[in-house]
């Protein structure tokens, strides 16, 4: 695997699956080398990583580089529809996709808590490797640290992503234009409710599964077919409402969306009703909102509907010119009854209500 034989592990015993992470696994000695070789290199192997240099050396690319980083601290580590490993790949490459970039390379930083079962780490790393392979990205460099028991929450992962934006592509809030239509790529809130119900041991009927999924392919398809995408945003923490608010503050425009058009599955609606949460603020990991000229909406929807990840994509509203009042960079929701309310940023976390 490595041409540098001095880095080969000297410890003859393989890592036993019933073992746990010890502080020495981050200490720079033999145990750390063993961890790197038997778990990380074994799973992530590619020519850039296997060189085991201080930096990964990557070929230059045509186009502009897009770079993003995200840290993953989800509990539980495994949830219906995914795990922290698959999430650490999807989350970061989806951020790249939102700029129209095709993801190429990832770094992976692990902060492990002393006592983490090796078998758990192996499962997570294996899930990351499979997800990266499915998405066509290479994990080219990494880092591992171990913290004392009680100083972490089993495992934290950071991934940084590097992608390439074709020269002709220009996507961002600066292109939002009054008259743009607003499309969401699918039903909302499944990731947040799946993780919450698993974490809190809440038993809901129905199938609550995370929507965690890669988005680069569907975005690439839209770009290939010359859909004039003005802006994209993935709907992670804070959900649709927070994403729209962040974008609405970027320009002198208001956004109006129709409650009756927003897709939300029955299990998510039910769980949110019981807990008093608003699904428009609940996290997603495989959903995005797209702004585009109205003349491209029909073509975009028919392309979106061909991809499993966006088969329920829907046109939910539009960007309007600000009305008379200043400070009107707001998002308005038209209810099913024709009345209007603001869709504001949350203050703090959404807390379950009392009765």
């Amino acid at each position: 695997m490595s041409q540098n034989s001095s880095l080969e592990p000297q410890c003859p015993l393989p890592l036993a699956s019933d073992d746990t992470i010890r502080l020495a696994h981050g200490g720079g000695g033999r145990l750390m080398q063993q961890l790197i070789h038997e778990i990380f290199l074994e799973a992530f192997s590619n020519s850039y990583l296997n060189a085991l240099q201080d930096s990964a050396v990557l070929p230059t690319q045509d186009g502009r580089l897009a770079m993003t980083t995200d840290s993953y601290v989800v509990q539980p580590l495994f949830f219906p529809g995914g795990d922290i490993g698959s999430l650490a790949i999807h989350g970061t490459i989806n951020d790249l996709a939102m700029m129209g970039a095709s993801p190429h390379y990832l770094s992976a930083g692990f902060i492990l808590e002393e006592g983490l079962p090796i078998i758990t780490l192996k499962q997570i790393v294996s899930s990351m490797a499979k997800t990266a392979q499915d998405c066509g990205v290479h994990i080219v460099c990494g880092d591992t640290k171990v913290v004392d028991r009680g100083k972490g929450d089993q495992i934290f992962i950071n991934t940084t992503g590097l992608g390439v934006i074709p020269q002709s592509v220009d996507i961002g809030p600066h292109r939002l234009t009054p008259g743009d239509r607003i499309i969401v790529s699918g039903d909302l809130g499944a990731h947040g409710m799946a993780v919450l119900s698993q974490r809190e041991g809440l038993e809901f009927s129905g199938n609550l599964r995370s929507d965690s999924a890669p988005l680069p392919d569907v975005i690439a398809d839209l770009l290939k077919h010359n859909i004039a995408i003005h802006c994209l945003r993935d709907l992670t923490r804070g959900g649709l409402a927070s994403a729209l608010n962040e974008l609405a503050t970027a320009g002198p425009s208001t956004m109006t969306i129709k409650e009756s058009c927003i897709p939300i599955s029955d299990p998510v609606r039910g769980a949110c009703e019981i807990l008093g949460l608003d699904p428009l603020y609940v996290a997603n990991e495989g959903r995005f909102v797209m702004f585009l000229p109205s003349e491209d909406v029909d073509r975009a929807l028919s392309l979106l509907h061909q991809h499993a990840v966006s088969k329920n994509a829907t046109d939910i509203g539009e960007i309007r010119l600000p009305e008379s009042t200043p400070h009107q960079s707001l998002v308005t929701l038209e209810t099913r009854y024709g009345t209007h309310r603001i869709l504001d940023l949350l203050s703090g976390e959404q807390l379950p209500r009392i009765c």
Binding site: E200, L202, S260, D266, R269, G270, E273, L275, G276, T325, H327, Q328, L330, T332, T335, R336, Y337, G338, T339, H340, R341, I342, D344, S347, G348, L351, P352, R353, I354, C355
Partner: protein, 370 residues
């Protein structure tokens, strides 16, 4: 989704709105008691579907909002005790005490945990025999049965590390107090559907008769609320005052007798201070003598140091007038400027059932005031 969609049906809402317009001939002021109803009204803009003669005012039915600041300060003090795990419903965590809220205590190292049911706290107590578990028992008659069940379960399990900071309040005495106020302008009530699911509604009959007000037990969905308003307006226009039940799919006249039995076994009525309103006789619950071993105040009385803090809410906060329906949140000079969910002056701006939070969250009109 069954039991929800039919009560949010736009056609039914439109039809009810039309009927209310047709029957209304005079001006009427109606109070919805429960904060959940207030949120539905503001969230869906239901008040804007009513004729201008009908004014909806928002009642004190937000348990978090009416919990007195002394009890919040006490909960904060309890959460600071090293071996204590303070369990609370999520809503309570951001409500400001005099100097701090429970979220701040949590950030400073206090063990504060959000629970979804009082029975969760029993499980925590069982799993942590070396810790002392205090549950901040807030709520109306709706949450009292589960709270009482938790105490009975702790008793059966002989748990010696389970304690309760009781802050339960009762709705009918508060309605009576509002009607007795010289400033009262309430002409009809939408009574709180969930409270009546537990307690029934026969206890409202003497109130309706004494004060000559229509009281309609009402649910929480748009169709429920408009139907409740229509039933109140029907009575008012016809000069009647009776107790009627709009929420018959959930509420029976005598309520849930089993739940009432559990409440009565563990708790007895006591006078209670309502934040912003004051002391109302027999409007709260306290532990019966046989259960005082679970009383957190008794267990930790020497650990609670409240003498150095003032216990009055900021003078600018109008929550008392808002909770009595004497003022709308948007009429408060601090609303949306000096008082926001990020920097609340009072509980109604914090709780998900608070009227101020509902107006701030949903009402486009606040923009003009910024």
């Amino acid at each position: 989704m069954k039991y929800v969609d039919e009560f949010r049906n736009p056609k039914a809402v439109e039809a009810l709105s039309r009927e209310i317009h047709q029957i209304t001939r005079h001006s009427w002021t109606i109070m919805e008691v429960c904060g959940g109803q207030t949120h539905s009204i503001v969230r869906y803009g239901l008040d804007r579907l009513l004729p201008p003669e009908i004014s909806l005012i928002h009642g004190p039915g937000c348990p978090v909002c009416v919990t007195p600041i002394e009890l919040i300060n006490t909960a904060c003090e309890l959460a600071k005790i090293p071996k204590v795990i303070l369990c609370s419903f999520g809503d309570m965590l951001r409500v400001p005490g005099t100097n701090e809220d429970l979220l701040k205590i949590k950030a400073q190292g206090g063990d504060v945990r959000i629970i979804y049911s009082p029975l969760d706290a029993v499980a925590i107590a069982k799993a942590n025999p070396s810790r002392q578990i205090v549950i901040f028992a807030v709520g109306f008659e709706t949450t009292a049965p589960a709270q009482a069940m938790a105490i009975l379960q702790a008793q059966r399990m002989e748990l010696e590390n389970f304690f309760v900071l009781v802050a339960h309040v009762l709705v009918p005495p508060a309605m009576e107090a509002l009607l007795s106020s010289p400033e009262n302008r309430i002409q009809g009530f939408l009574a709180a559907g969930h409270v009546c699911t537990i307690m029934g509604y026969d206890m409202y009959e003497p109130i309706s008769e004494k004060f000559q007000v229509p009281i309609v037990v009402t649910g929480f969905e748009p169709v429920d609320i408009l139907e409740g308003v229509k039933m109140v307006v029907d009575q008012l226009e016809e000069g009647r005052s009776a107790v009627e039940n709009q929420y018959a799919r959930s509420v029976h006249r005598s309520g849930n007798l089993e739940a009432q039995k559990v409440i009565n076994e563990v708790f007895e009525p006591s006078s209670r201070i309502w934040r912003g309103i004051g002391n109302i006789p027999k409007s709260g619950l306290q532990l019966r003598l046989a259960f005082t071993q679970f009383d957190a105040l008794q267990q930790f009385h020497d650990r609670i140091h409240l003498t150095d803090v003032t216990t009055s809410p900021p003078s600018e906060c109008q929550s008392g007038r808002i909770l009595q329906g004497l003022m709308k949140p948007s009429d408060c000079p601090a609303f949306g400027t000096r008082c926001t969910p990020d920097h609340p002056l009072g509980a109604p701006m914090v709780s998900s059932e608070g009227a101020c939070a509902a107006y701030f969250q949903y009402r486009p009109s606040r923009v003009a005031q910024l």
